[in-house]
Structures are given as C-alpha cells and as structure tokens.
C-alpha cells in the first residue's frame, strides 16, 4: 500500500482536508464508492452522507453534504457545501436538529407540502450523517 492518492475536500468556507491518503469511500449518486491510488478520471455527484478515508492505518470519518467529486491525476477533489470531521461535530446540536427535522417532516407530510418536505428530508439526512460521523469518535 505504498501508493497514495491526494484527497482534497473544499467547501465555500475553505479547504477542509488536503492530505495523501490510502483510500477514500464516499457517498456517490449511485451508492458508496471507493477510490484508490491511480484511479481513472471520474466525476460523480455526492449525496449527503459520510465520507471515510484511511491514512496510515487510521480511519477518519467525516460528514459531507451535497456537491460533487472529481478524480484525475491521482488526485480526488470533493466540492461540497459543507464537510465536518466526526470529532468536531456537536452531538447535542445534531440530535436537536434531528428532532426538529422529524417534527417538520411529520408536519409537511400531513399538509402535503412538497417543498417543505424535501427540505425537512434534507435536514434529516444531514442530522443523521452528522450523528453517524460523530459516533465513530
């Protein structure tokens, strides 16, 4: 496992990660995908979920929200709206967000408001992804 791939995670608030890693697993459009060194050029959209990368035998779990990723020249760059390390996530806040999203979702379903429902679902997914990422620490 000598060969590594450069992982870059960029959000509108700046670069979050820029490291040489062994493997990256990310929530792609068609399900999770893994990328190793020297992967062929690849472009995919990213869903809200957890991203895992392994570096020197250590696994790092992150929460990412929508965006896309590009693989080329042994470099994988993620352009996502937000990315957070599991260790930085405020579990209480995520739990509260989850409860809020649950309530809103129930409300939206009841009143059949599509837009609010989509929003609540997205909020729900974000909260769940955060909780999952936080749990690994």
């Amino acid at each position: 496992m000598a060969e590594k791939i450069l992982l870059e995670i960029v959000t509108p608030k700046g670069a979050v990660v820029s490291e040489e890693v062994d493997i990256v697993t990310a929530p792609g459009f068609g399900g999770e995908f893994g990328v190793l060194a020297n992967h062929a050029p690849f472009l995919s959209t990213i869903k809200i979920g957890s991203l895992v990368y392994k570096q020197a035998g250590k696994e790092e779990l992150m929460m990412v929200s929508g965006g896309f990723c590009e693989v080329s020249d042994n470099k994988i760059s993620f352009l996502v709206e937000s990315a957070e390390h599991g260790r930085d996530i405020d579990v209480d806040r995520a739990l509260k967000a989850k409860e809020r999203a649950e309530k809103r979702l129930a409300q939206a379903v009841q009143k059949a408001e599509t837009i609010n429902r989509v929003r609540a679902e997205a909020a729900m997914q974000r909260a769940l992804a955060r909780l999952k990422a936080a749990k690994s620490h």
Binding site: P12, G14, F29, P41, F42, S44, T45, L79
Partner: protein, 290 residues
C-alpha cells in the same frame, strides 16, 4: 463675530462626531478583514468549480438544459446586490446608477425589466418604479451559502417559468481596499463559454461519469448559480466595508480640519475679548486721571 460659547459648543459637537466616525472606521476595518478572509476561503472552491464546469460543459449541447436555454429576449431581470446600510460613500449610489442606466437601456430596446434586490439599499432605490419583484433585505450582515441558494433558486424558477428571458447581476466588485467599482455579469441563461477559463483541450480526459454527464449537469447548474450569487454577495460585502472605511476616514479628517478652523476662530474671539477688556480698563484709568 460668533460668541465664545457658541464656538465652544460647536467644537465639542464636531469632536463627538469625529469620535463616532473614527469608531466606525475601525469597525469597518475589522469587518473588512473578515469579509476578505471569507472571500479568500471561497476562492479555491469557486475556481475548482469553474474548472469542473468547463470540462463538463465543453462537450455538451446548450439546448438540453432549461437553465441554459437561449430565448428571444423580451424581459430581463436584474439582480441588484448592494449593502443594507448606508454611510459608505458613493458605493451604493454607483451600483444604483449603473442599474438605472441598464434599465433605461433595456427599456429603450422595448424589453420589460424586473428587479430583484439583494441588500436593502438597492431595492429601496427602485421601490417607486414598481419594478421590484422581490427584495431580500437585511441579509448582507451575516449571510451564508444557503442565503445565496434561496436567491438563486427564486431567480432560476422565475427564469424557467419564462417570466424572464435573461438575468443579469449588478454588484460592487472589489478591486482593492481603495477601489470598488460596480460591475455587471450575465447569470442566466448559463452559457458554456462563460463558465470559466478552459485549461486547453488536452485536459478534457475521458472521464467516467456517474450518473450520466447530463444528469450531473442538472445538479451542477443550480449549484453554479449559488456559487455566482454567493460570490457577488461576498464581493459586495467586502466592498461595502472597504468603502465605509474610506468614507469614515475622510470624515474623520474633515472633522479634524473643522476643529482646527474652529479653534482658530475661538482663539481669535478670545483674544478680541481680552483686548476689549483691557481697552476698557485702560480707558477707565485714563478717565480717572483726567
């Protein structure tokens, strides 16, 4: 000659004003630093995004996406991005002037114009004209990506429904701390050529796309709008603080000039009063002698 007391109150008044302008200058300087940092942080995201858009849109036909559809231009929407607060020199006035010119030009070509205001000042300036379709007020202070998304979504929906055939953004571009100029960019329809500089055709490697390139474009185009709107908001917020900093610096200098002048007048008046008093005493003494 103004009385001594009048001049004294005037001096203390001007001094108080200069204290305020000085404080505002310092606040603006601190906020400018924050805004500039935000802009710096955003730059890598924007440039990568544009590069990816360029690789993607290079081998794509514009007609197949609603957001790229080029129509006969009958109605134009202008997003005017200004600050929420005033006291920043001619910064907002310049943006408003440029917008007004653009509106006049478009209307002389027989097109209907609607305006979306981002930041209070712009919407307020066009309120009377009745052209303002929507105003996003009081968001320039602490805005984030999701604020930009809300605006972009609203404008995109309006474009897709056919109410506007073209959308432009007028905003204050940040050139440097000393110079901010209004600028216009076309937002919709998205034209592939404008999505950033292509880095030569050699880079257009055979990518594996997941899902298909068209579907990725469907996701990327709205994101692209977010990026554009967010970017213009960042520029405006940095420009606003820079403009306010300069304006307040000028005001502070003007204040100290006025204080110098007033102090001179005050001293002259004091001197004159003393002379008059002395003359009185001397006159009185002379009279007693005689």
């Amino acid at each position: 000659m103004p009385s001594l007391k009048d001049v004294k109150t005037q001096i203390s008044g001007v001094k108080k004003t200069s204290q305020i302008t000085k404080a505002m200058n310092m606040v603006a300087a601190a906020k400018l630093r924050g805004a500039q940092e935000k802009m710096e942080d955003f730059r890598p995201y924007a440039s990568k995004f544009n590069a990816a858009m360029a690789t993607l849109s290079g081998n794509m036909e514009a007609g197949q996406f609603p957001l790229m559809e080029v129509r006969d231009v009958k109605s134009v929407e202008i997003i005017i991005v200004t600050s929420d607060r005033g006291l920043c020199g001619s910064f907002n006035a310049n943006i408003i002037k440029m917008t007004a010119k653009l509106v006049a030009k478009l209307e002389s070509e027989g097109k209907t114009v609607s305006i979306v205001g981002v930041g209070k000042k712009g919407a307020r300036a066009f309120n009377k004209s009745g052209k303002v379709r929507k105003a996003f007020n009081d968001i320039m202070g602490t805005f984030q990506m999701f604020n930009a998304r809300e605006i972009a979504q609203d404008v995109a929906e309006n474009f897709i429904s056919g109410n506007a055939d073209e959308v432009h953004v007028v905003y204050g571009k940040f050139h440097s701390v000393a110079s901010q100029k209004p600028a216009t960019v076309k937002l919709l329809p998205v034209s592939p050529a404008e999505t950033g500089e292509t880095e030569g055709d050699a880079v257009a490697a055979d990518y594996i796309y997941e899902p298909s390139p068209t579907e990725i474009m469907d996701v990327l185009l709205p994101l692209y709008l977010n990026v554009m709107v967010y970017h213009s908001m960042l520029e405006v917020s940095a420009s606003e603080h820079a403009a306010r900093m300069t304006a307040m610096d000028n005001a502070t200098t003007a204040c100290s000039d006025i204080v110098t002048n007033l102090t001179l007048i005050y001293n002259k008046a004091r001197q004159a009063a003393i002379t008059a008093d002395l003359m009185d005493i001397v006159g009185g003494a002379e009279a007693l002698k005689g």
